[in-house]
């Protein structure tokens, strides 16, 4: 392990992450500008702190913390937080056996990272990293409550307040810093555990500045500005006191000395804890607060898939004949477009209402420069706009009758082509939103694979139903139509199969939280997982059958419809699993406060109806 003291003296300007701790030399105009807090403005010259433009951070001595919650309470008191919110929280891990037991308490708030993933992820640009102290501050007034920053932060620092519909987080007590005080939490600490200062300058009463301790998330994700001290002899394994089913196991000491990599200095590795294999189906565990996203993502992917098929296939000569007759049927075309647009509108409405402050939906594209969420909304929004206009001009050509004839006839093609480009682009942006290092389960190409495969599978299944029925109604031969869509479905299903296989392998290799997710899948959701494996095989088999021997007539249509129902169920369950299986990287929490199992218990049992329990009831 590198000695932080010597590395600092060699180059006092660099943090252990290798970044310059002197901030903002390239922003002279911002250094001169005063910092305005609550209407008071403070210029650099009025602030007694000579280090004002250096990166500051917390220092946590894990040997000393007694979990007295004084830091947490001082913070909540100063920031006037209701019981269900906190910017700082104390959690614990424990190892050893009675009476030789070691409990390590960890007090954690925002780490004001060098690479603030929250700031980059936020679509509204509510975050700013200030030159003053390197504080990463979030403005709840700008925030519209999408909660994406709470996904990307590896430390659970930003907190979504469902009551106010906005995110709030630690503000480093910049108002106190400006008058020469320490942050409220540091001031309140009773056991010389929490300190604060210029990052990597070891505080007066502390001896070392480690980058990590057991149970702290990999610092390479966001280069957090927190340093640790932990000197006591440690047991070989730690358990969490909260509900996250993982342990921290000491890796082989031999191995540790062979890899003197300072960023991987934690000698502890996360290991999944095997829960009791569930004998029931655990259907209720599929529900989560992300339920609207299950609907939104599936519908959006369906819309893209279906529209592309509807628009492109007839233009592609080998297929034009198959679909030609149906395409001619204006009612069917209008109906299909209406279905796609209608579902997509509903999904967009739902996802907007899912925001804490839907009235500020227009802020979603504030951060195109950094945020994949902004980009997703921009592209999906444009796709939606284009398909709406496309539908209007297709169904009601009279709307564009004032245009020159040639232009009017070309317009739908332009619109459709635009949507055909933006739709997949939107899905790509959507996929990128889920490439979150703090959520290892998603951080794999399988997320994209799942999204595109859903587009193909759902799009083709629905198209098959619509055009099959149309064909049947007009006594057409429907087998070629079904075969055509079965081919697309097969592509999607195979993509899904490959993505899933690769993903499972990745989960094992990535280990840590990813393998916890895998363990959950194989234990808690064992039955659902098995059912899903078989339903995927069934769907692949059925698709192959339809490609090779497409059954005709009512029999074919009945079979397709049955498969369609299985497909939808398969997709919905799969997507629900996608959300519930995520195990975010988190810093351990306590037994009650911040423990999700307790929160759901409190809601179910009626305890949460008492506001002083600190759990918001279902009403919110």
């Amino acid at each position: 392990m590198s000695n932080p003291i010597s590395s600092n003296t060699e180059n006092p300007q660099l943090s252990q992450h290798g970044t310059n701790i002197v901030l903002g030399e390239s922003y002279p105009h911002l250094m001169d500008a005063p910092l305005e807090i609550n209407g008071h403005s403070c210029g650099a010259s009025e602030v007694p702190n000579l280090n004002r433009f250096k990166q500051h951070g917390f220092h946590f001595n894990a040997d000393n913390c007694i979990a007295c919650h004084a830091c947490e309470s001082a913070c909540s008191e100063k920031n006037d937080l209701p019981p269900h919110m906190a910017y700082r929280y104390v959690g614990s891990i424990e190892g050893g056996e009675y009476p030789d037991v070691t409990r390590i308490n960890i007090s954690m708030a925002c780490n004001h990272c060098e690479d603030p993933v929250c700031l980059k992820g936020c679509p509204t640009r509510a975050y700013t990293k200030y030159l003053e102290y390197g504080a990463v501050l979030q403005d709840p007034e700008i925030c519209f409550g999408c909660g994406y920053c709470t996904w990307v932060c590896p430390y659970n620092a930003p907190q979504l307040d469902p009551e106010k519909g906005q995110v709030q987080k630690c503000n480093m007590c910049v108002d106190r810093l400006e008058v020469g005080l320490q942050p409220a939490c540091v001031d309140a600490c009773l056991s010389n555990a929490l300190d604060f200062g210029v990052i990597d300058e070891i505080p007066l009463k502390q001896q070392e500045a480690k980058l990590s301790i057991p149970s702290f998330t990999d610092p390479s994700i966001s280069r957090p500005n927190i340093r640790f001290q932990l000197n006591q002899p440690l047991p070989t394994s730690f358990q969490r006191m909260d509900d996250v089913p993982m342990t921290y196991d000491q890796v082989d000491a031999q191995k540790q000395t062979e890899t003197p990599n300072p960023s991987a200095q934690s000698a502890f590795k996360i290991k999944e804890k095997k829960p009791q294999t569930s004998s029931d189906w655990s259907w209720h565990k599929l529900r989560s607060r992300e339920d609207p996203l299950v609907f939104f993502t599936l519908v959006s992917q369906f819309a893209v898939g279906a529209f592309l098929m509807l628009f492109l296939l007839p233009k592609w000569s080998p297929f034009s004949e198959t679909l030609f007759l149906s395409q001619e049927n204006a009612t069917v075309l209008a109906g299909t477009l209406f279905l796609i647009v209608g579902l997509q509108s509903f999904a967009l409405l739902l996802s907007t209402l899912h925001l804490g402050k839907p009235q500020y939906f227009y802020r979603a594209m504030n951060n195109l420069r950094h945020s994949w969420v902004s980009r997703e909304i921009a592209t999906m929004g444009a796709f939606y706009g284009l398909i709406v206009v496309y539908s209007l001009v297709t169904i009601f050509p009279v709307l564009v009758s004032w245009l020159p004839l040639q232009l009017a006839s070309l317009l739908p093609t332009f619109l459709g082509l635009g949507a055909s480009v933006l739709g997949p682009l939107g899905l790509y942006c959507m996929y990128r939103c889920y490439r979150i290092p703090a959520r290892p389960f998603w951080d794999h190409w399988h997320s994209g694979g799942a999204f595109f495969s859903s587009g193909l599978i759902l799009g083709s299944s629905v198209m098959g139903v619509i055009f099959g029925l149309t064909g049947l109604a007009s006594a057409q031969e429907i087998a070629p139509v079904l075969r055509l869509f079965a081919i697309f479905s097969l592509f999607g299903l195979i993509l899904q199969q490959v993505a899933q296989t690769q993903h499972l392998r990745y989960l094992l290799e990535r280990g840590e939280e990813a393998s916890v997710s895998r363990m959950q899948l194989k234990t808690v959701f064992r039955k659902i997982d098995t059912a899903r494996t078989w339903s995927l095989r069934l769907l692949i088999g059925a698709a192959i059958f339809f490609v090779l021997f497409p059954p005709a007539g009512a029999l074919g249509m009945t079979a397709w419809s049955a498969i369609f129902i299985i497909t939808v169920a398969h997709e919905v369950v799969g997507r629900a699993l996608f959300y519930v299986l995520v195990v975010p990287t988190t810093v351990p929490r306590g037994f009650f406060w911040g423990n999700q199992t307790f929160e759901s218990l409190a809601r179910k049992s009626g305890l949460a109806e008492k506001p002083q329990v600190g759990v918001l009831s279902d009403k919110h």
């Binding site: 007694i66 007295c68 008191e77 006037d80 980059k120 200030y130 009650f592 008492k610 002083q612 759990v615």
Partner: protein
């Protein structure tokens, strides 16, 4: 570095405009922290801060202190007196005149029909010293029942009794500053980080500046045990054996302070003979601590030159609590560790003013450590108050724990409870409910109407809370500190002092006795009556106390600034000025685990809660850390029994049962469980509570239980949630 912004956004942070800061002393534990409450222009308490130059807390506060100002807005405060015929009827709102008339009439009626002592009074450790003093005067001088006690019998009685037996008087001899001078800290049955976080802060600061060995004795691996250099995980209820064995080693190896023993103690020979029987090997078999470890610890303690012991409920709440305290005093006397910097036997007290009730409430005697048994003391108090001395009984009456059985026997028919909640805090609470429902009259004087004991009350008197009135508290280190009135009490609620003085007016017998109406006037009386006593207040005034951020008694013309330590000259309160070394044979009468009830049940505090949660259970930012009862259980044992974390289980003792959530931790042994004491309908349903023969304090910490898994977890969760209102 500054992403995507060309200008600095203005920053908005919450502000709490404070119009004035009001000086107070925290009303939770006995640490005695000075805290200032910020009041806004509308007169509402909006924030709090530790007082920077405070002798005790030096600007720090624990979480309860930080959020203490929120008690002013807490739910279900009593705002109007209530009366009903019996506990099955509904309450009716009454005026103070009606309520006090009725209270006085009921007291007189019951005393007239059943005798003077058939009306009992149990007060608290949480009202001001001025109020305790006035209550004592009312009870001893006017009501004259001898069945008058404080709930301090549940927490500090063993310490009081132990101090009296060893030193001839109550009064903790040490102070927090002893941490700065000691060379060895021996903590037995005390968990500072959880129970007295600010005392832990003082200890931690001292150890950071100047490391010294810390030895912690506790059956549970508390945070303090984990921070210790040596942790002795003792078998519950066997502390006395350990302490005797340590004395055995010290005497055997000649490590004692012969001069001190000769000059300042009596009873050495008998003591020596007794401890001779407690070899470390014998102790090992009983305490589960290796004989060599006992020797090692005894040597460290004896050779430290300045060594101190602290203890709390781990000692006090056991069947030999008083003996445990005496054994600690013995250890310190034979090593000469009393009254010197860093050498002391310091009982870490529980409630904010448990000390005040011990000093001036007259519940176990007469003001300023005077006793009923002493004729001169009786004569002095009678003269001072203008009462006929014949009205004073010549020995102390029943303690709280004996009052309840006396109600059961029909000897006591009326009870007045002041600021205490026995329906949650007494051992074997199902029995307590039956007992209370047997009373003809139960007066409950409390700040909250939802205190569980009110369920059995016939008269409810709404009292002001801490900070809604002015007065003083005494802390663990004898520091008298001031609480100023921050806000007015809600509705018609009145200070306890007002209630006592106005109730006194209802009795003809009170005509001769003058009751001072303001806290400052009462304080002057206390100064006068304490003059020349060990707890001498004569050199203090409210203003002087505030300016000094608390003054340690004795404070008089000789010690203007107060006194950090007692017995610095080795002169004790026994008539001959010598302390007693007392031989303490160990009698094991604990309920111990057996096949049917295989687990030790231990109980104790959590940092976020105070007593029966009537205050902290309503402050969300405290309560959220443990909003419902839980039980610490060993994970290996749980695995054997098929119990998982966050499961509800039923815990069953020979008395009753309780439902708790399981928390898995290696802090507790495989055959032990721990349940916090704070919850209504929980651990005290299970506790046996055998009484200490000297202090009459219940043994809360040693009971035997078994654990049953609950099949229907959803149902259990709903039942558990319905068991308490807050």
């Amino acid at each position: 570095m500054l992403f995507g912004r060309t200008h600095k956004n203005e920053i908005h942070l919450p502000v709490k405009p404070v119009d004035k800061w009001v000086y107070t002393t925290c009303g939770y534990c006995s640490t005695g922290c000075s805290l200032e409450v910020g009041v806004n222009a509308a007169g509402k308490a909006v924030t709090a801060r530790g007082v920077e130059d405070a002798a005790v807390n030096r600007g720090k506060l624990c979480l309860k202190g930080i959020y203490e100002y929120e008690v002013f807005e807490s739910q279900n405060r009593g705002t109007v007196p209530l009366i009903r015929k019996n506990h099955k009827n509904a309450f009716e709102e009454k005026s103070w005149d009606e309520a006090l008339d009725q209270t006085a009439a009921e007291i007189s009626r019951i005393q007239a029909v059943y005798g003077r002592d058939s009306f009992a009074i149990v007060s608290t450790g949480q009202i001001y010293t001025e109020e305790f003093y006035t209550l004592g005067k009312l009870v001893r001088g006017v009501i004259r029942t001898n069945n008058y006690d404080g709930n301090t019998t549940l927490c500090m009685a063993s310490a009081v009794s132990g101090y009296k037996r060893s030193f001839g008087s109550d009064g903790p001899p040490g102070c927090y500053d002893d941490f700065e001078h000691t060379n060895c800290l021996f903590a037995i049955g005390s968990n500072l980080p959880e129970q007295h976080p600010i005392i832990y802060y003082r200890l931690q600061e001292a150890r950071t500046r100047r490391p010294f060995p810390m030895i912690v004795v506790d059956p549970r691996v508390t945070m303090l045990a984990q921070m210790a250099d040596i942790h002795l995980p003792i078998t519950p209820g066997t502390d006395l054996v350990l302490l005797n064995a340590m004395a055995h080693v010290i005497l055997k190896e000649g490590l004692q302070d012969e001069d001190y023993i000769r000059l300042h103690t009596n009873g050495f020979e008998g003591f020596k003979k007794l401890v001779n029987e407690y070899s470390p090997e014998k102790a090992e078999g009983i305490c589960g601590i290796a004989a060599d470890m006992i020797r090692k610890v005894a040597r460290i303690y004896a050779e430290a030159n300045a060594a101190m012991t602290i203890w709390t409920m781990g000692i006090n709440q056991s069947t030999h609590g008083s003996d445990g305290v005496v054994a600690i005093n013995n250890l310190n006397l034979i090593t000469g560790n009393i009254g010197k910097p860093g050498g002391t036997a310091l009982s870490i007290t529980g409630q904010c003013n448990a000390m005040g009730t011990r000093e001036f409430s007259s519940c176990s005697g007469l003001p300023a450590y005077r006793t009923l048994e002493n004729e001169a003391d009786r004569a002095f108090a009678a003269d001072f108050w203008g009462v006929d001395t014949r009205h004073f009984p010549d020995k102390r009456g029943l303690t709280e724990t004996d009052i309840f059985p006396a109600i059961e026997r029909g000897e006591i028919k009326g009870l007045w409870l002041i600021g205490t909640n026995p329906m949650t805090s007494m051992p074997n609470t199902p029995q307590i409910r039956k007992i209370l429902d047997q009373l003809e009259c139960l007066v409950v004087q409390d700040a909250y109407t939802d205190v569980e004991t009110v369920q059995s009350a016939t008269i409810y008197l709404p009292a002001a809370l801490w900070g809604e009135k002015t007065g003083v508290f005494t802390n663990t280190e004898r520091r008298v500190n001031l609480v100023r009135k921050v806000v007015a009490p809600p509705g018609k609620a009145k200070s306890d002092l007002w209630i006592f003085t106005h109730l006194a007016k209802r009795f003809d017998r009170a005509k001769e006795i003058k009751f001072a109406e303001t806290a400052a006037e009462v304080f002057d009386e206390i100064r006068e009556i304490s003059k020349g006593r060990l707890c001498d207040y004569s050199g203090m005034t409210h203003e002087k106390i505030e300016a000094a951020r608390g003054i340690q008694w004795p404070c008089n013309t000789d010690n203007e600034a107060g006194s950090a330590r007692l017995y610095t000259d080795g002169h004790f309160q026994y008539p001959d000025g010598k302390a007693k070394l007392i031989a303490l044979p160990f009698v094991d009468n604990n309920e111990v685990p057996c096949q049917e009830y295989p687990f030790w049940l231990n109980s104790g505090r959590v940092v976020e809660h105070w007593h029966t949660r009537t205050k902290t259970g309503k402050i969300g930012n405290l309560n959220k850390f443990s909003p419902t009862p839980f039980m610490e259980m060993n994970p290996r044992m749980a695995a054997k029994m098929g119990i998982a974390a966050m499961d509800y289980v039923r815990v069953i003792s020979r008395r009753s049962s309780a439902i708790v959530l399981v928390q898995l931790t290696e802090r507790v042994a495989e055959d032990a469980v721990f349940i916090p004491m704070h919850y209504y309908n929980c651990v005290n349903r299970l506790v046996k509570g055998l009484l200490d023969p000297y202090s009459r304090q219940p043994a809360y910490k040693q009971s035997a239980v078994r654990i049953e898994c609950l099949m229907d977890q959803d149902e259990a969760a709903k039942t558990a949630a319905s068991l308490r209102d807050y």
